[in-house]
């Protein structure tokens, strides 16, 4: 289960500035991994606290669900094209 590596966004509307983003998310993987490793003791403490407190357990589960949702978004593609506006979103 890997998070997205690349996100492309393009929005073209007449009379407005064109938005074209190419976001290399994979560059954030290594810093995120470093932060995750550094935060491991805190996470372990939260897990132990979560055994006793359902609210903490629910919070941890929701954090994991958000991360899983982010990882599962790979492959999403949205293209809307009419005579005036053009929207393109691609998550890889």
């Amino acid at each position: 289960m890997f998070p997205p590596a690349l996100i492309r966004i393009r929005v073209v509307s007449p009379g407005e500035k064109k938005i074209a983003l190419w976001l290399p998310i994979f560059l954030l993987w290594i810093p995120a991994l470093v932060v995750a490793v550094a935060a491991t003791p805190l996470v372990l403490v939260l897990v132990l606290v979560g055994v006793l407190m359902p609210r903490v357990r629910r919070f941890l589960r929701q954090c994991f669900d958000v991360f899983r949702l982010l990882c599962c978004s790979r492959g999403t593609r949205i293209e809307v094209d009419d005579n005036e506006d053009n929207v393109f979103v691609d998550i890889r």
Binding site: R61, R74, V80, N83
Partner: protein, 132 residues
């Protein structure tokens, strides 16, 4: 059987030849039904022909089934008062689903139903919903 003396050498040779002929090569054997690949994406395509000289309006959406599963499992993030409103709205449409009690089995049943879904509407607008 040859070792026990029940058959002669020539008879053993005939038996071995018969066994060898019965073993048809894999290419001549009946093809094994390959397991059907489960679709990965839900595709929605809408095309509306242009009324004037402009180009057709198109909507093309591809959603991974994994994202649908993960999204449905996130019902715990929905506030309780919003869940009640959602349940009420679904019941008005004739859909008797309790969002609070959706479990993995329900999600898999829904995704399985979606994988078999194929809709083609051809009118003023062309709408296609399918899985790939």
């Amino acid at each position: 059987m040859l070792k026990d003396g029940k058959i002669s050498v020539s008879e053993a040779d005939e038996l071995l030849s018969a066994i060898g002929q019965d073993q048809t090569p894999p290419s001549e054997a009946e093809p094994v039904d390959k397991p059907r690949k489960s679709p990965k994406y839900l595709r929605i395509e809408v095309r509306e022909p242009s009324r004037g000289s402009g180009k057709d309006e198109t909507v093309n959406i591809r959603v991974p089934f994994q994202l649908i599963r993960a999204g449905m499992k996130m019902h715990s993030l929905i506030p309780s008062n919003a869940k009640q409103k959602i349940d009420g709205a679904l019941k008005e449409k004739g859909i008797d689903i309790d969002i609070e009690n959706i479990d993995s089995k329900n999600i898999e049943e829904l995704v399985e139903a979606l994988t078999e879904l194929k809709i083609d509407v051809d009118g003023d607008e062309t709408v296609a919903i399918y899985c790939e």
